[in-house]
């Protein structure tokens, strides 16, 4: 469904991403790994439309999407989380999920002002969907708290729930396990697998936690200093000499 071809991104003199190609098929979890500063987040920013790539093509469901504005990309069904959690801190947990469903709601001003039945029913549906996902990530009891007051692990889960209420086809997670304790990481592992199995969402994952990556990925792309280094199944990548040298050897 997602096909990235020879993607390049240049910041002034720095070629942060150099000819990276990768693809994600339906019902698949694909991971991008690489040392710090390898350009992983930059790849995400290009795909999700925050940066306009300097070169290459990005196809989503067969259509070119590179250079499209970020909000349009997200409406196509590609939604991401951020390396540093970005919630609407002063809004409540459930409101965070309502904002994400903006385009599912009746945003006509007049229908909102006089509360037409259509407006009410869509608002109720959004609340139900929000409640469902809060239950799913174990935050239902905290629904009316300010998002900024949640513990770190809870914020991470809320960010994923916030993506899921938009009903995406492809979920892009940027280091979702960073800062989580082992128990939380295990829950995250199960959650991601269940997103794929039960909700038919493909996942593109950036992660430093190798055991998580190796455990859940169908395929892995390794990049180093902006350049693609290797790609394949977890076993292939684990045994690749270049990867061992550049990545594991360094650590």
């Amino acid at each position: 469904m997602l096909d990235v071809k020879n993607l390049s991104m240049r910041f002034g003199g720095l070629l942060a991403v150099d000819q990276v190609s990768l693809d994600v098929q339906e019902h698949e979890i694909v991971s991008i790994i690489g040392p710090n500063g390898a350009g992983k987040t930059t790849v995400f920013n290009c795909i999700s439309g925050f940066y306009k790539p300097s070169g290459g093509k990005i196809l989503f469901e067969g259509k070119e999407v590179q250079g499209k504005p970020d909000y349009k990309i997200s409406r196509l069904g590609m939604v991401r989380t951020f390396q540093h959690v970005r919630l609407f801190n002063k809004m409540t947990v459930v409101e965070n999920l309502l904002v994400a469903q903006h385009r599912h709601l009746n945003t006509n001003l007049l229908s909102g002002l006089i509360k037409t039945p259509n407006y009410r029913s869509r608002e109720q549906k959004s609340l139900d969907r929000a409640a469902y996902w809060l239950e799913r990530v174990g935050l239902l009891d905290l629904a009316n708290r300010d998002a900024g007051n949640l513990a770190y692990g809870q914020q991470r889960r809320l960010e994923i729930a916030r993506c899921m209420v938009t009903e995406p086809k492809l979920l892009m997670l940027d280091e979702p396990a960073a800062g989580l304790n082992p128990a939380e990481t295990k829950d995250l592992n199960q959650l991601i697998v269940s997103l794929k199995e039960d909700y038919n969402v493909s996942v593109l994952l950036i992660e430093h936690d190798m055991s998580l990556v190796m455990d859940i990925s169908d395929r892995i792309t390794v990049i180093n200093q902006g350049r693609p280094l290797a790609a394949g199944t977890p076993d292939e990548v684990r045994q690749n000499d270049d990867v061992i040298k550049a990545y594991l050897g360094e650590a």
């Binding site: 919630l87 609407f88 809004m91 904002v99």
Partner: protein, 423 residues
Amino acid sequence: MAAHNFKHALFCAVVTMVIAFPILGLNLVARGTRVGLEGADASTIISVFVAAAIVFFFQLYRDTIMGNLGKLPALNPLAGREPMPQAKRVKLESWALTGIIVLALFWPFFVSRGSVDLATLVLIYVMLALGLNVVVGLAGLLDLGYVAFYAVGAYTFALLSQYMGISFWMALPIGALLAALFGLVLGFPVLRLRGDYLAIVTLGFGEIIRILLNNWTSITGGPNGIGGIPEPTLFGMEFGRRVKEEGNTSFHETFGIAYSGEHKVIFLYLIALVLAVITALVIRRLMRMPVGRAWEALREDEIAARSLGLSRTAVKLSAFTIGAFFAGFAGTVFASKQGFISPESFVFLESAIILAIVVLGGMGSQIGVILAAIAVTILPELAREFADYRMLVFGAAMVLMMVWRPQGLMPMRRIHIELKRQE
């Protein structure tokens, strides 16, 4: 540290002298056909020195003074208290609001005509401030040219009535919609800009509209303005002594009461009150609707909002347009109240006053904005002898607010949507 403070304080004192001395210490006197310069009397010069000394000592002990000011407990007695639960707060607020509205409905029948007239002006400012609050407080866009939309509303009514004989009630929606259209058209190219740039460009737009009105003499009458703007009618009843428009009747004759100039003033006040209440209610609802949440989300974290499919331009434009709409509303009422408008009424100072009301009241908070509108309009009227110092007091008030309560008199507390447990 002390040496640094001393130098700084000395510098400030010298600046005070340099500025104050030529302005206050020297007088221009007409001697025949020529103008001569004369020193002011001793007391003025002494006060300049005293002022410089005050500045010097204040700057010298500035840190201590400001530190102690910040600690003054009495200023915010509620600071340490737990916030009220939302349900209770909402109830209390709506009771208070209903009380205020009922009081405001009956109040004009017991006071002087001048007070009612002033109250109408307050209500116009309330409308303006509530509208600007959407733009600045809720959407976080610094608009320094808000008065332009106010002018559009006022001039729409003035021109329509002059050239086409359209009545107040027809002009009210037209004026508001036209102002909204202006907001939409002007906002579209501008809203890509951020922060300071946006402020400067909107400032420019405000001035352009005013200059346009001033110079397009053939249509707008230029600096002479437009007069003879009709007052609102009540179901075809006019409030003047004699009926001006054919087909209308007059209010006092219909009800068989003696003519009184007060009827008209009170009627206008009531219209302004109803419109202000409608404005407040509509904006309150908007805050709880998807648009309102989108404004807040974009203000909180623009990147996250965009990543979830919110279009920055569309969301900000909606705030800009809605704000302009209410300014148009207020403009129509203003034109009708004055009966005469000219570009004089739409100078930058007006934008600044409306913005000051929003900031003083606490960005985003409605009750705060209403209180601030009352304070900012009425205080200068009460203290007319200090009219010369109005801007000075204004500036001082703003500085003090920034020190003590940067969040405004009554900072906004949002009404959250609650997720009810369904078992």
